[in-house]
Point group: C2
Chain length 365, copies 2
Amino acid sequence: MDIVRPTLILNKTVCLRNIELMLNKAERHRLKFRPHFKSHQSIEIGRWFKSLGVSCITVSSVQMAEYFASDGWNDITIAFPFNQLELKQLNQLTESNRINILVDNSSVVEAIGSKLEHSTGVYIKISTGYNRAGISADSFEKIDYLLERIKQFPKLEFKGFLTHAGHTYYAKSKYEVQNIHFDAIQKMNNLKRIYKGHYPNLELSIGDTPSCSLSENFTGIDEIRPGNFVFYDLQQHENGACNIDDIALRMLCPVVSKQQSRNEIIVYGGAVHFSKDSIQNVDGKPLYGRVIIKNDNEQELLSNKSYIARLSQEHGMIRTTPRAFNLIKVGDVVEIIPVHACLTVHNMGRMVTSKGEEIIIMPRF
Amino acid sequence: MDIVRPTLILNKTVCLRNIELMLNKAERHRLKFRPHFKSHQSIEIGRWFKSLGVSCITVSSVQMAEYFASDGWNDITIAFPFNQLELKQLNQLTESNRINILVDNSSVVEAIGSKLEHSTGVYIKISTGYNRAGISADSFEKIDYLLERIKQFPKLEFKGFLTHAGHTYYAKSKYEVQNIHFDAIQKMNNLKRIYKGHYPNLELSIGDTPSCSLSENFTGIDEIRPGNFVFYDLQQHENGACNIDDIALRMLCPVVSKQQSRNEIIVYGGAVHFSKDSIQNVDGKPLYGRVIIKNDNEQELLSNKSYIARLSQEHGMIRTTPRAFNLIKVGDVVEIIPVHACLTVHNMGRMVTSKGEEIIIMPRF
């Protein structure tokens, strides 16, 4: 492969291993496995899941549901508070697919309820502490009210409660992830206890990659929807969900400039390639990627004293040590491990596998 | 126009006004106007410039030079430390176009010098304090050495010194921008004084939008290369380069959820739409966008107590006041003013003008 500009490389072996491990875990715990496809947005990678027996998926937009439905996926949860302006598109999707939507307020139910043309699954989105969308897990009055509204509309089929404990992403250790997860499944099980009298088939669905990677406790849970685990990244490494070797993505970046007085190296690879997501490095500063170089033809992961410390539109700036500075030459290609796989893949739109296959993601429009 | 998902709207009137004002300023100061096209990446918007008489441009990658060359632009500066791995592409470009590259180290000159097939303009990239790429403006020995190397290769035509005082982007006031600009042009003029004996035609090229917008002092400068001014954004508003009314972009975002207990509103519009660039709000927290709502059919720009305070992949979270909270309903479409126009345009790939024209940007690959 002739690398002349920033190129996102996917290690297919690692990616398939990540998929199989999570699938095995779901089977071991008798959980429905509904992986989130927003992380890869790729029909090709979707087929890898399908070949392993996966038949239902999660997506983050109506557009993404249309994209995967076009490749034969017909059991899809759109894990985003339903956007009522896309009712027409939803009705087209439900014509020949099993689609579940999320709601956390009655006004959207009132707005779409009588206009739904086909049976549509609905989950009530529960906030277990992430505090983004969702009804708080102890707001029983709101949940009761919403359930009553849902019941009014025969096309809406109540499926259960769904949460995304996204605060695990920012956890600083495996133990913190486990604590958040334990708290979330307790809250979810409490809802099941309260509502299963009226809704004996209600399901509990949870989602985040850190919990699904680290926990072996899924008591009462019916379904998991992790997404990021397919690639993993530095953020997941930071919260303990994966090892560096589990991260399936590398950005290859040409070295274009060296600044000896500051031990800084400029690579071709910037915000348009990586996005601007960062984690905090040990020195308290934002870290946008870690660096792997070739040293005597051996791959060497540099310590986190060498890292992408700044990104502008096309430039990445590696702050480094005098030793690493001297090992890197203008014209070299270095490998960068991304902080946030989903956004990096989205930004690039294209990956190349280590076996040379080209993988194109969903078009932006 | 039927808005059902995040849609980037370009106010063409404001955009054309921004272009004309900058063009007039360049003419008034007898500066060559070489606008940076990385901000819009659009052939259509490029033609608006052409219709006003602009004939030379700046781009940030070889790929972008190829893109605009394909639409007839034939005088292009690639304002990025030249990536020697793209030598073949450069030789193709210089076959029928006037191309200028940037260098800040001798190793790239040695690597490509004898392999250039056609005359290629070269600027020495100077750092005037932004501390990204470039030779420090007082490193005369390095500059001398680099000039000697350039002279060895007849296909390299030394054009002059080029700087990008990108630290103005983070200035907190017009005065700070002016100070940085004054410092930069002094340093550049010093270089001209020293080297014009040997290179009587050498040019000084400066780039940043804040300086070009705010200053009327361009003593000794030959060329300006601003890019962002075509749209402006909240970051430019923050440093004083523009008024809110000069910002030509708005993202229309459907409202999907309201969280009364926290006065928070969730819109469909996240990191994949806006990028994750932020500025610091008055409360010290990151601000990812400001909000315009319709109130009694009047557009109302909310104060910066209401702002996009968090972005995830597809979600934007507006932190707001009780008053504004009550004015915004699920199912509404709100307008968001982006923090960083260039990255927002890059992420979206598509804009629609207020007159209904669709504008598509350069493909990602």
